[in-house]
C-alpha cells in the first residue's frame, strides 16, 4: 500500500492503495466513481476508457502508480453538467445508447478523437474508436461524432 495523490476531473484525490492496482478499480472501488465500466480487464473492449493527459486510455490495464503525475478525466468530469460536451449533445440527438453500458467508454474515446482531430473522417473514427458495443450502436456513434464535429467547429469555417 502507498498513499497516492491523483488528479481526477480537476480535483486532487488521495488514495491508500497498492500502486499496481489498475486505475479502473481505484476509480470504482476506492473512489466510488462507477461511471467508468469493467468489461474485459485486458484492454480489449474499451468500456473502461478514461483520458490520461487528454489521451484516451484503457484504465483496466493501467497501474494507478503510473498515473499519479497525470491529469485524469473520467466520464463524470467530461463536462461540468454531465451533458454539454459536444459528444454528449450529439449522442443525445442521435439517440446513440441502447443498453448504454459501453457508452462511457465510447464517449471518452470519441471525445479524445475530436480533441485530436476536430473534423475526423470515417477512417479516423474507425482507427480511434475501437471499443466494443454489443448492442450494435456503431452506425449512430459514427453519425454522432460527425455531428459533434460540426457543433465544435465555429460557424463560418473549419477549425
Amino acid at each position: 500500500m502507498a498513499m497516492l495523490k491523483l488528479s481526477i476531473n480537476g480535483q486532487s484525490r488521495e488514495v491508500d492503495v497498492d500502486p499496481e492496482t489498475p486505475l479502473l478499480w481505484v476509480l470504482r472501488e476506492w473512489l466510488g466513481m462507477t461511471g467508468t465500466k469493467y468489461g474485459c480487464g485486458v484492454a480489449q473492449c474499451g468500456a473502461c476508457t478514461v483520458h490520461v493527459d487528454g489521451v484516451a486510455t484503457r484504465s483496466c490495464s493501467l497501474p494507478v502508480g503510473s498515473v499519479d503525475a497525470s491529469k485524469i478525466t473520467t466520464i463524470e468530469g467530461l463536462s461540468p453538467d454531465g451533458m454539454s460536451h459536444p459528444i454528449q449533445v450529439a449522442w443525445l440527438q442521435h439517440e446513440v445508447p441502447q443498453c448504454g453500458y459501453c457508452q462511457s467508454g465510447q464517449i471518452m474515446a470519441s471525445a479524445a478523437l475530436l480533441a485530436a482531430k476536430p473534423n475526423p473522417t470515417d477512417a479516423d473514427i474507425a482507427d480511434m474508436v475501437t471499443n466494443i458495443c454489443r448492442c450494435g450502436t456503431y452506425q449512430r456513434i459514427k453519425a454522432a461524432i460527425h455531428t459533434a464535429a460540426e457543433l465544435t467547429i465555429p460557424a463560418g469555417g473549419k477549425a
Binding site: 466513481m33 461511471g35 480487464g41 448504454g100 466494443i132 454489443r134
Partner: protein
C-alpha cells in the same frame, strides 16, 4: 390556457438543462416499492400534482427500448403529454404480493411490447376514463361532453379545462373500469411516433447505476471460480494459502461447483482467487472436444430417428424422381452472449430475509431463485431491478443470482456484490446451440423446386433448460423460422423439416434471435444454391416459392426495391438477398459486398426490412435493426466458442472476437408495417444478416461458405 404557459416555462427550463435536446428526463431510478406519492389510476399509471405521469414497467430494459415503448403505449391511451411521462420498474415482490397484477416480467423472445400491448393499453385507457369522470363530476356535466389531450381534460361546450395533475387525486378514488375500449390505430398520437427514449441522459454521463455499480453500506465483494469443465464439481481448495492477502475476508464454497473469495474490494477478491489452489472433479466430460462434437452431430444428419417440425407431400419419392438434386451440409458453432456488463448480483441475507440487486431479464425468476438459494419464503425476498448492461437472452438465467445469495448466506448481515470476471463469464455461458443441417432439394427439368428436406442435427435448448416443454421429444424452438406459421416457402409441393436431437454436455440457452439465426443461414444460403443450380435469379426464384406467403414476399420485395436489385453496381460490388420470419415479424435484407482478390471482405451497405405489424417507435425499431446486424455479423465474421478438454477455449474478447465499428456497414432500415398485429423487433432481423452477406460473397467470389465463422475460410479469388 394559462396552465400551458406554466408547463411550457417549466419544460423550457428542463430542456435547457439537457443542452438543447432531451424532451424528458424520464427515468426514475428503480424503486423497491412502486411510486405511491402520486395518484394511482389503476395499476399502470401514477399522476402527480405537477402533471408528472409515472408509467410502471414490468419488463426489463436492456437496450431494446421496451421501457420507452411500453410507456408510449400507456401514455397514448391516457392522452398524456409525453413531456411529463416518466417510467419506473415494478418491484417483483410488489408484483408477487398483488397476485402478479402486472403480469409476466420475463423479457425475452422479443415479447416486451407484443405480449404486453393489450393489457397495458387497457390500463392507460382506464386511467383516461377515470380522469374524464372525475372532471365531469367536478363540473357536474356529462362525461360524454368531455375530451382529453396533452394531459388536459376539456369540457367541450364551455371550454373549461383541468390539468391531469389537478384532477388525478379525485380520479384515483373512482373504481377502475374493466370493460374499457382502446383506441383504434387512427386515434393514436404517441404510438408510431419516434419520441426520444426516456432513459438516455444518464447513459451519457456515467450516472446510470447498473447492478455492477451498486454501492451499499458495509458491502463486501466476491469473485468466483466455477468448474472449468461444464458439469464438473468442486473437490477442494486451500484457503490458508490466500488468507493473508490484502482485503481477503472469507473463502467459501458455492453450491457444489464453485468457490468464492470475499474481500473488501472486488479487485482484491479477484487477485486472491487467482492465487487460490483449487482442485476440481471434472466428471466424465474432461476430454470432450469440438471435433468429437462435430462427428456426433454429423451422424445425426442421416439418422433414421428425427423429431418432425412439419411435412407435406412425399419428399422421399419427389427427391428420388427429381431431374436434378442439390444437397449441402451446413454448420454453425456455439456462441456466447458476451453482454458487456459481466454477470453480477449483489445479495444480502439477514434475519431470514433476502434482498438482491440485479440486472435480470426476469424479475419474477430472480425473486424465485433468490428464495430458493436463500431457503426462505418468496414473501421474504426483495429484488431491486437495475437496467441491464446487455441481456441477449443470457440474463434470463438466474445462476449468478443463486450464487450471490449462496455466498451472502455464508456472510450474513452484509451485502455481498458478486462479479464474474470476463473469463468466468465467457467460459460459463448458456451458449447458442451448435447445430448442423443437411439440406436436400429436387428440381424438375424446368428448374422448379419439387421437394425440400431440411434435416437439423444438434443441440436442443428446451432439452437442456426446460425439458418439461418438449412435446413428444420435439423442441419446437429448434425449428424457429421453419414452423408452418413462419416458413416462407410453403408453395414447395413436397416438404419435410426434421431434427435429430444431439445434446452435448455444453450448456445452451436462448441467444438473441435463438434458432432463427442458424436456420436462416441454412435455408437462405441453400435456397440461393438451388436458385443457381436452376439457373435463376435468387430474387425471382424466391418469389415463385413464396406464392403462398404474401407477407413474407411483401418485405422481400420492399428491400429488393430499395436496394435496387438488378440495377448495376460499382465494379467489384455484389448483392445477396435473404428473408425470414420469426418472433411474430417478417424480415428481409439485401447486402452489398466486395471481396478483394486477396480475400478481404468489405460490407458496403445493408438494406434491411421488417414488417412488425404495428410500429410503436420507428426510430427505436431502426436502432434495433441496426444493432441486430452487428450481432448477426459478429457471428458471421469472427465469433465462436470451441471446446477442448470439456471446457470453452475462448476466454475473453481477445479470443472471442466480436464486430467493432471499423467493420460496420451502412444499414438502411425499411419499415413496412402492414398493421393488424404486433410483431417483435429486437431479434428478427439478426437472422437475415449472415445469409444476405454470405449470398453476396458467393456472387462476388463463386465461393459457397457453409460453416461459420468466416475466419476459417479463404475468400481469395482470381
Amino acid at each position: 390556457m394559462t396552465h400551458v404557459m406554466k408547463l411550457s416555462r417549466r419544460f423550457f427550463l428542463t430542456a435547457s438543462a439537457v443542452a438543447g435536446g432531451g424532451l424528458s428526463l424520464g427515468w426514475t431510478a428503480p424503486a423497491s416499492a412502486a411510486d405511491t406519492a402520486g395518484a394511482e389510476l389503476g395499476i399502470w399509471a401514477v399522476i402527480h400534482p405537477d402533471d408528472t405521469v409515472v408509467v410502471r414497467i414490468a419488463r426489463s430494459e436492456m437496450g431494446q427500448g421496451t421501457l420507452t415503448g411500453l410507456a408510449q403505449l400507456v401514455a397514448d391511451e391516457l392522452d398524456a403529454d409525453w413531456r411529463f411521462v416518466k417510467a419506473e420498474y415494478v418491484a417483483p415482490e410488489v408484483n408477487l404480493a398483488n397476485k402478479r397484477a402486472w403480469g409476466d416480467m420475463s423479457t425475452g423472445g422479443s415479447r416486451g411490447i407484443r405480449a404486453s400491448v393489450e393489457y397495458v393499453r387497457k390500463g392507460g385507457a382506464a386511467g383516461r376514463a377515470m380522469l374524464i369522470q372525475a372532471a365531469a363530476a367536478k363540473w357536474a356535466v356529462p362525461a360524454t361532453e368531455c375530451s382529453t389531450g396533452m394531459s388536459v381534460v376539456t369540457h367541450k361546450p364551455t371550454g373549461r379545462t383541468l390539468r391531469y395533475g389537478e384532477i388525478a387525486a379525485e380520479a384515483a378514488k373512482l373504481p377502475v373500469p374493466d370493460d374499457i375500449k382502446v383506441k383504434t390505430p387512427a386515434e393514436w398520437k404517441l404510438i408510431g411516433r419516434g419520441v426520444k427514449r426516456l432513459d438516455t441522459v444518464d447513459k451519457l454521463n456515467g450516472k446510470l447505476t447498473y447492478a455492477i455499480d451498486v454501492q451499499l453500506p458495509d458491502m463486501l465483494n466476491a469473485a468466483i471460480a466455477q468448474s472449468p469443465v461444464f458439469g464438473g464439481k468442486l473437490k477442494s481448495f486451500d484457503a490458508a494459502k490466500i488468507k493473508s492477502m490484502p482485503g481477503v475476508r472469507f473463502v467459501v464454497p458455492v453450491d457444489d461447483n464453485a468457490v468464492a473469495v470475499v474481500a473488501d474490494k472486488w479487485y482484491q477478491a479477484k487477485t486472491a482467487l487467482a492465487a487460490l489452489p483449487v482442485v476440481w472433479d471434472e466428471g466424465k466430460n474432461g476430454n470432450v472436444d469440438s471435433a468429437q462434437i462435430a462427428a456426433f452431430l454429423k451422424e445425426g444428419l442421416d439418422a433414421k430417428e428425427a423429431a418432425l417440425a412439419q411435412e407435406h407431400g412425399d419428399v422421399t419419392a419427389a427427391l428420388a424422381g427429381a431431374a436434378k438434386k442439390v444437397e449441402s451440409v451446413y454448420g454453425t458453432p456455439f456462441l456466447h452472449h458476451a453482454t458487456l456488463e459481466p454477470m453480477n448480483c449483489t445479495a444480502k441475507f439477514a434475519d431470514g430475509k433476502v434482498e438482491v440487486w440485479v440486472s435480470s431479464q426476469n424479475g419474477d425468476a430472480s425473486l424465485a431463485a433468490a428464495a430458493e438459494a436463500g431457503g426462505v419464503k418468496l414473501a421474504d425476498v426483495k429484488v431491486h431491478k437495475h437496467h441491464l448492461g446487455g441481456g441477449f437472452g443470457r440474463r434470463g438465467q438466474q445462476d449468478y443470482v443463486k450464487q450471490a445469495v449462496l455466498i451472502a448466506k455464508q456472510v450474513p448481515g452484509r451485502p455481498i456484490k458478486l462479479i464474474w470476471t470476463r473469463e468466468e463469464d465467457m467460459t460459463h455461458g448458456f451458449y447458442r446451440p451448435i447445430t448442423q443441417a443437411k439440406m436436400s432439394a429436387g428440381l424438375d427439368a424446368q428448374g422448379n423446386v419439387t421437394a425440400l428436406h431440411a434435416r437439423l442435427s444438434g443441440q436442443s435448448i428446451l432439452a437442456y433448460l426446460m425439458p418439461q416443454r418438449m412435446e413428444n421429444g420435439v423442441d419446437m424452438i429448434a425449428f424457429q423460422g421453419w414452423t408452418k406459421e413462419e416458413f416462407g416457402y410453403m408453395a414447395i409441393p413436397n416438404l419435410r423439416i426434421d431434427h435429430a436431437v444431439r445434446n452435448t454436455h455444453v450448456p445452451v440457452g436462448f441467444w438473441r434471435g435463438v434458432n432463427t439465426n442458424q436456420n436462416s443461414i441454412y435455408m437462405e444460403c441453400f435456397i440461393d444454391e438451388v436458385a443457381h443450380a436452376a439457373g435463376k435469379d435468387p430474387l425471382e426464384f424466391r418469389r415463385t416459392l413464396m406464392a403462398k406467403n404474401p407477407k413474407h414476399l411483401a418485405v422481400l420485395n420492399a428491400v429488393a426495391e430499395r436496394a435496387g436489385w438488378g440495377t448495376p453496381l460499382p465494379k467489384g460490388v455484389y448483392r445477396g438477398i435473404a428473408q425470414n420470419a420469426g418472433f411474430g415479424s417478417y424480415v428481409a435484407a439485401v447486402a452489398e459486398v466486395s471481396v478483394s482478390p486477396k480475400g478481404e471482405l468489405t460490407i458496403h451497405r445493408i438494406v434491411a426490412g421488417t414488417d412488425c405489424g404495428y410500429v410503436v417507435n420507428p426510430d427505436q425499431v431502426a436502432a434495433q435493426v441496426e444493432g441486430s446486424f452487428v450481432f448477426g455479423l459478429s457471428a458471421l465474421l469472427t465469433s465462436e466458442i470451441t471446446i477442448e478438454k470439456g471446457r470453452a477455449v475462448e476466454t475473453n474478447f481477445d479470443s472471442y472476437q466480436v464486430m467493432r465499428l471499423a467493420s460496420m456497414p451502412k444499414v438502411e432500415t425499411v419499415l413496412v408495417p402492414s398493421g393488424g398485429f404486433w410483431g417483435g423487433v429486437g431479434e428478427p432481423t439478426i437472422a437475415v444478416a449472415p445469409p444476405a452477406v454470405l449470398n453476396a460473397i458467393f456472387a462476388a467470389t463463386g465461393k459457397r461458405i457453409r460453416t461459420l465463422p468466416l475466419t476459417h475460410h479463404d475468400l481469395s479469388h482470381a
